[in-house]
């Protein structure tokens, strides 16, 4: 099992040197709980909502958000996952990325989709995700929930729910997980 993860980590070439921690696990949990309330406030209920986490960083965060939503609404809310590798616009410049699981269990027509990701940066992942969603029907609305918005957008995309706004310089790197948020540098850069 670990060999698959190792292979995929190696394939992505990720190596991160943390400089400082900006959010603790508790901070992240509080931010997610607040965003869950905001999602319910905006949409009045969870009935027509479909939560979709973007692979791989957004998947565990979507899972946690769905957990809080279930508590608030007192009804089960499940998290789906989407891998946007095949929809990216930078495939011809970057090597083909490793791909992971996609699982969306229903037609999205007339649903309100809440896309969940760990870090919002250039917006290109979200553009790819919006393209991908159209293959599952025509959602009533798509909302975007991110744990960290670090700026440097290259496309006209803005988040609806933000855990924390972090102004960063373009060569810094952010790691945002349920265990906390760190700022640092890419070791391989």
């Amino acid at each position: 099992m670990s060999s698959t993860n190792e292979r995929q980590a190696r394939a992505r070439g990720l190596a991160f040197l943390a400089k400082s921690q900006l959010m603790s696990a508790d901070d992240v949990a509080r931010a997610l709980r607040r965003m869950a309330h905001e999602v319910v406030e905006r949409n009045h209920s969870t009935e027509s909502i479909t939560i979709i986490g973007l692979q791989s960083g957004g998947a565990p965060i979507a899972e946690a958000l769905a957990g809080y939503l279930s508590e608030i609404a007192d009804a089960p809310v499940t998290a789906n996952v989407l891998d946007v590798s095949f929809y990216r616009d930078d495939l011809s410049h970057n090597p083909a990325p490793a791909s992971s699981k996609t699982s969306i269990d229903r037609d999205l027509t007339n649903r309100t989709v809440v896309l969940v990701d760990d870090v919002l940066f250039t917006g290109r992942t979200i553009r790819a995700a919006l393209n991908a969603l159209s293959d599952w029907g025509r959602p009533q609305a798509v909302q975007l929930c991110v744990l960290v918005d670090r700026g440097h957008r290259e496309l006209p995309i803005r988040p609806d729910f933000v855990g924390k706004n972090l102004p960063t310089s373009i060569d810094e790197a952010i790691v945002a997980t349920l265990d906390g948020v760190w700022i640092g540098t890419r070791a391989d850069a």
Partner: protein, 325 residues
């Protein structure tokens, strides 16, 4: 040794590392999911052109390659050799040059000469060449899809997924390959895939249908067919290739069936969990009895179904990762 087929041609499995093979298998898992969607199409190869050149007849390989390319949103140029200038005596080199002049990113090539894919990759080094079978040499995507199918079926039986099984499942797995090994490119690719992934491979065939250099292959040769059937976790059958003259290597088809055919009698004595594979097209009643193929041990249909996702994975890794030339 090729450690990843990203941006590379796929000519043979002999030079592919274990990680490179597992990368294809893992990527294919994603494409199995894509093929279950209502809209079975992703834009990964939008604007890319894949030429499909089949100089030798084929149903499943050609259809699954072209379906795979279309589901990746590539444009497909399909050369029907029977109605092309090849019939007027145009050489392979000139045909490739003509197609290349139209602007292509990849060629899927099936040819009756061993080494044709390598030759074409030298003619057009800027184009990815995917070998879809060259003579008696290699049929890489068949080897990969057979490994993928084994991993899928065995993972399912263990209540897990292929992605989670990774490569561990192949270590020590006993795989028997029976039949016309001498003429079979499928056998060569299967053996390369299985042995690289860590399986124990045994071959069994009439002496005349074994290649002359089999002692240098990563396999053991068995004489006792019945004992080998009991030994094996997976039995891979091969077609007796009459068009490559294998008819002349055995006294008669009946004789072959008698000594090396998977008959109902032999099937009755093997372990119930043993998997039976065949790359197709089958000669029912020669290398395998119809009733065996239609039993639940046979995973021939899964093999065919996995053709599209494996070829999508190969095209995706090979073509999507290659920068604009």
């Amino acid at each position: 040794m090729i450690t990843s087929i990203r941006g590379q041609s796929l000519l043979s499995l002999d030079e592919l590392s274990r990680d490179a093979m597992l990368e294809v298998l893992d990527t294919a898992e994603s494409f199995v999911e894509v093929n279950r969607r209502t809209i079975k199409k992703v834009p990964a190869l939008k604007g890319r052109v894949v030429a499909s050149l089949f100089f030798e007849e084929s149903t499943r390989t050609r259809l699954s390659f072209e379906t795979a390319a279309k589901r990746l949103s590539a444009d497909v140029l399909s050369l029907a050799v029977a109605s092309s200038s090849v019939k007027k005596g145009e050489s392979l080199r000139d045909t490739i040059a003509t197609i290349d002049a139209l602007g292509i990113d990849a060629v899927v090539l099936r040819h009756r000469s061993s080494g044709a894919a390598l030759q074409v990759s030298r003619y057009v080094p800027h184009v990815r060449v995917i070998n879809a079978g060259d003579g008696q040499h290699q049929h890489p995507t068949q080897g990969l899809l057979d490994a993928f199918t084994i991993r899928q079926v065995l993972s399912e039986r263990r209540g897990t997924t292929g992605l989670e099984s990774g490569g561990e499942l192949f270590v020590g797995l006993r795989i028997l390959i029976v039949g016309d090994i001498r003429h079979s490119r499928v056998a060569r690719s299967d053996i390369a895939a299985y042995s690289t992934l860590g399986a124990e491979v045994r071959v069994c065939a009439p002496g005349t249908l074994l290649p002359d250099d089999v002692d240098r292959w990563p396999v053991t040769v068995a004489d006792d067919f019945e004992a080998s059937l009991e030994w094996a976790d997976v039995v891979g059958l091969l077609r007796l290739q009459a068009e490559r003259g294998s008819g002349a290597y055995v006294p008669s088809l009946d004789e072959f069936t008698f000594t090396h055919g998977l008959t109902v009698e032999r099937f009755a004595s093997i372990r119930p969990e043993t998997l039976i594979m065949h790359p197709g097209p089958m000669n029912r009643g020669v290398e395998v009895d119809s009733r065996v193929v239609d039993s639940s041990s046979a995973i021939v249909e899964q093999q065919v179904a996995n053709g599209v996702p494996i070829r999508m994975a190969v095209l995706y890794l090979s073509v999507a990762g290659s920068g604009e030339s």
